[in-house]
Amino acid sequence: MNFQELIKTLDEYWADQGCHISQPYDVEVGAGTMTPDTFLRALGPEPWRVAYVQPSRRPTDGRYGENPYRMQRYFQYQVIMKPSPDDIQDVYLGSLVALGINLSQHDIRFVEDDWEAPTLAAAGVGWEVWLDGMEITQFTYFQQVGGLPCQPVPVELTYGPERLAMYVQGVDDYRALDWSDQIKYGEIRYEEERQFSSYNFDTADTEMLWQLFGMYEHETHACLEADLPLAAYDYVLKCSHAFNLLDARRALSVTERGAMILRIRKMACQVAERYVARREELGFPLLADPGAD
């Protein structure tokens, strides 16, 4: 099964489970959790079922393309179901079977791994799922997002599609993955990893990034003032990416680092609060019977 078939299979499987298949968000994020389809939709009483691929940028994880497992930009396959279904573990295992993994031939384990994202004031309880000792999915029941308690509780499944594909295809290097039957992952993305690692670690203009962070932060507050939480959130994400680049450039002292995390967190909490208020003004349109809640 090549890489694009794997994603297509997951799309089909989760569409059958009642998820709508969304498309990647177009602002840089460090993880699928940060996209509005997860971060914002996890909030409030409205039900939500979605699945999508999200390219994720983690500048510090870059290895100039040379490490077989690590990349500064990779993909996450993200599933959100709110409220969490009672049989979600079995449904999840079903997705592995759909990928051609014969469970009786493997060691599948749910190993405690609670998740926390300080910049998003978000936390959850769950596991990393092990396939023969390898972590293939992060499985989380959100408890809090943007400083607000989640009620009902969404469940988030985050697959590492590269890892899974490497397993399914039996290769030990991301570059050797078949993206399609015609072209390899490395042929498409190696040069990008090399250039961006170099940019992230060695080239990015830190003075500019500092300035951008300040401008984005300013714009976040302006958008909040204008009661546009969705636009405000884009600028929170931009702040977060600027911060990640500064971090990769080792331009932050420990104190500065902590202070910046706190600034992003504060903005994320304000957006979350404003977003829920706005949905409420709209009458929580996705609730089947808004009056019943």
Partner: protein
């Protein structure tokens, strides 16, 4: 009639360390609940796996005993009129209790005559009362962390997905978290049937076993060790037993299948602790060693797989372990490129605790505290002090290495890896050893540092952590101790006692506090004198706890800590002596207590002028003179016995006990509390000196006589 009860809570995979505490709580809740419900029962046994908390109670009464309860009604005067006829009050009372008016009895009580009814309560069927108990027990379970799921409000360790509640063959009518109890359990996720039905509690274990689950965790643990040992032995090796890892993996599997994998022997060039931490820390695999105790390039993974899958699973595990070892090697080689000493400057940029400066500042404090200790503990050779000071300078340099920055590896390897890096950077071997040992002991029963330098550094590191946290108001409360301060204090006590180090605890606290920077802009900061006092009290509590683990009775601990104490080793020596005396020579112990008690009881509440000195010319009885003489001799002897670095409390106690006959005689002959102020003060002054002499060992008024 009695029937067996089975209750199984089916959950999504619960964290390994939560299972046993939950089972203990279940057992306790059911045991107490059943007696409260007046249901006799036989043995209670619990079983736990990652997906189930189960309890079996044998021979539960199927019905509560009938019970007759006496209920008090209205006063007799109100219940019956002058002719003895029942009034409305009596009729109403009888009716509400379901008895005839003729059955009401009049009896007198403290408050006059009242009407009573004998109300019979027929026992209820166990099946009727058990569901309430089971629900209460389930909802009452506490965990170190809980969660919510779906749209429920209930908090539990992980979502509850099924319940089995059977009394004999019957399903109990029970609902928890929206789940109805039934007789359907779940087998192993992969092996066995997904929904086997249990017809009666006695087939619980066997039915699960045929469905791929060893529910009895005790047996599962034995199976793991046996399988792992056999795999190792087949290669001529042996398992390196780590009880913590074994306990954890036991609750990660329902049907253990141990698998031996291998890796390139090249990785054994890494420090042994690094390899073991990679195997155990993240992957929870077991290490294997040869007969000489050296690691071999193998690991044992405890999996939950079907034996038929063994080969695939082994390959998979090797593909995971090898990159992790590779990561560690990358860190190691990268870290080694830079001499450890050169990293010290980087520590200026690492915060220690918010508002208390950098790690660099901390190392400077450690150098000073180590110096203070070397100066105040007798017989620390200058060479050891020198080593400890050098080690203190470098102690935190490994915090900025890649190895320690990697969360999971770092937690286990900090200090230890610093020792390796120090050695490789050409630092003296003794300095490297002290750095490596600075976090010992980690938990009760751990070894203390072997080297004197390591001991001094470990003491300094711990006291600095304690004063810093206390200064910021971060004091452990209840079970919340996020900075592991209890463990730090216990570590100081263990090192001090086992090394026989004598020093003033308040001196050490004072010096450490003095070195701490002024916390700027922090909330909840405590003033220095308050920190000193509360920390001293904290050490008192920790001493009690450490002593109790060493089998010293609580009252003996109190007796020692109620005296003026400021020296951990000295206080411990006194407590140990008294505990030993009570155990091996109870009569001697009791005589000592008796001798000490009477002077204490009479003088402590009494008013005695401050400067009252014993005046021999005022003695009226020969016993007074005799006691004064014996006391003077005893004090002189005890002064000698207790001076110096190794006070002989055993002999001192013997001398004190020797005073008993004369003390006895004194109280026979002498009336202490006489009218005459001068005489009374003189007598009290003598007895007070005696009390003070005994207080050099303990406050014997704290001793609880045996049998009480």
């Amino acid at each position: 009639m009695a029937a067996d009860l089975l209750y199984e809570i089916g959950i999504e995979e619960i964290p390994a360390d939560m299972v046993l505490p939950a089972l203990e709580q279940l057992e306790q809740a059911l045991g107490q609940g059943l007696s409260r419900l007046r249901l006799e029962h036989g043995e209670i046994t619990t079983y736990g796996t990652p997906r189930r908390l189960a309890i079996v109670v044998e021979g539960v009464d199927e019905r509560q005993d009938d019970r007759v309860e006496e209920v008090k009604g209205p006063p007799a005067q109100a219940a019956f009129d002058g002719d003895g006829n029942a009034t409305q009050a009596a009729l109403g009372f009888a009716q509400s209790r379901g008895v005839e008016v003729s059955e009401l009895e009049v009896r007198s009580t403290d408050k006059g005559e009242f009407v009573f009814a004998q109300v019979s309560q027929p026992g209820k069927a166990a099946a009727e009362v058990l569901p309430g108990l089971l629900r209460e027990a389930t909802e009452g379970l506490t965990f170190r962390k809980t969660m919510r799921w779906g749209d429920l409000d209930l908090r539990f360790a992980r979502p509850i997905r099924w319940l089995v509640a059977l009394l004999a063959g019957e399903v109990l009518d029970l609902e928890v978290a929206g789940v109805h109890a039934g007789r359907v359990t779940r087998g192993h996720r992969i092996i066995g049937s997904s929904a086997p039905e249990i017809s009666s509690p006695d087939e619980y274990l066997s039915l699960l076993e045929t469905n791929g689950v060893i529910a009895d965790h005790r047996r599962r643990g034995e199976v793991i060790v046996a399988q792992a040992a056999e795999l190792a032995a087949a290669q001529g090796h042996r398992l390196r037993i780590n009880p913590d890892v074994l306990a954890e993996v036991n609750f990660l599997v329902e049907c253990p299948l141990c698998i031996m994998g291998s890796f390139s022997p090249d990785y054994l060039k890494l420090p042994e602790e690094v390899v073991v931490t990679v195997l155990q820390g993240h992957q929870k695999a077991l290490a294997v060693e040869d007969e000489a105790g050296n690691l071999v390039p193998n690991f044992i993974a405890v999996t939950n797989a079907d034996p038929a899958a063994a080969e695939t699973v082994r390959e998979g595990w090797e593909r995971v372990i090898v990159p992790r070892l590779d990561d560690a090697r990358f860190y190691y080689e990268h870290d080694m490129r830079k001499p450890l000493r050169t990293r010290r400057e980087e520590l200026r940029d690492v915060t220690f605790l918010a508002n208390l400066g950098s790690l660099y500042d901390k190392t400077q404090r450690l150098v000073e505290v180590v110096g203070w200790l070397a100066e105040h503990i007798a017989d620390i050779p200058e060479q050891d002090a020198q080593i400890a000071r050098q080690a203190a300078e470098l102690a935190k340099c490994d915090q900025v290495t890649m190895m320690v920055s990697d969360g999971k590896l770092g937690e286990a390897l900090q200090g230890i890896i610093g020792g390796y890096y120090a050695c490789a950077s050409g630092e003296p071997e003794e300095v490297a050893q002290a750095i490596a040992e600075q976090f010992r002991p980690q938990q009760p029963g751990d070894l203390i540092p072997v080297s004197p330098g390591g001991r001094l550094l470990s003491l300094a590191d711990k006291i600095d952590q304690l004063v810093a946290c206390f200064r910021l108001g971060k004091i452990p409360k209840g079970s919340a101790d996020p900075y592991a301060l209890r463990r730090q204090a216990a570590g100081i006590i263990e090192i001090t006692v086992q090394s026989g180090y004598r020093f003033s605890l308040s001196g050490l606290i004072g010096r450490a506090l003095q070195l701490l920077p002024q916390p700027e802009g922090a909330e909840g900061v405590l003033a220095v004198p308050e920190v000193a006092q509360r920390l001293k009290d904290f050490f008192g509590e920790r001493l009690q706890a450490v002593w109790e683990q060493r089998g010293i009775d609580y009252d003996i601990g109190r007796a020692v800590l109620s005296t003026v104490w400021d020296d951990i080793a000295d206080a411990t020596a006194r407590a140990e002596l008294l505990a030993e005396l009570r155990k091996s020579q109870p009569e001697v112990f009791n005589e000592l207590v008796t001798a000490a008690e009477r002077p204490a009881r009479i003088t402590r509440p009494a008013q005695i002028p401050e400067m009252a000195e014993v005046e021999a010319t005022l003695f009226e009885h020969s016993t007074e003179r005799q006691l004064a003489d014996e006391f003077a001799a005893a004090r002189q002897e005890i002064d000698v016995l207790l001076s110096g670095e190794a006070p002989d409390y055993g002999q001192a106690a013997e001398v004190m006990r020797g005073l008993l006959p004369t003390v006895h005689q004194y109280f026979e002959d002498v009336m202490v509390m006489v009218e005459d102020d001068v005489l009374r003060h003189n007598r009290l002054a003598l007895l007070r000196s005696l009390d003070q002499l005994f207080l050099r060992l303990a406050d014997f008024l704290e001793i609880v006589p045996s049998g009480e």
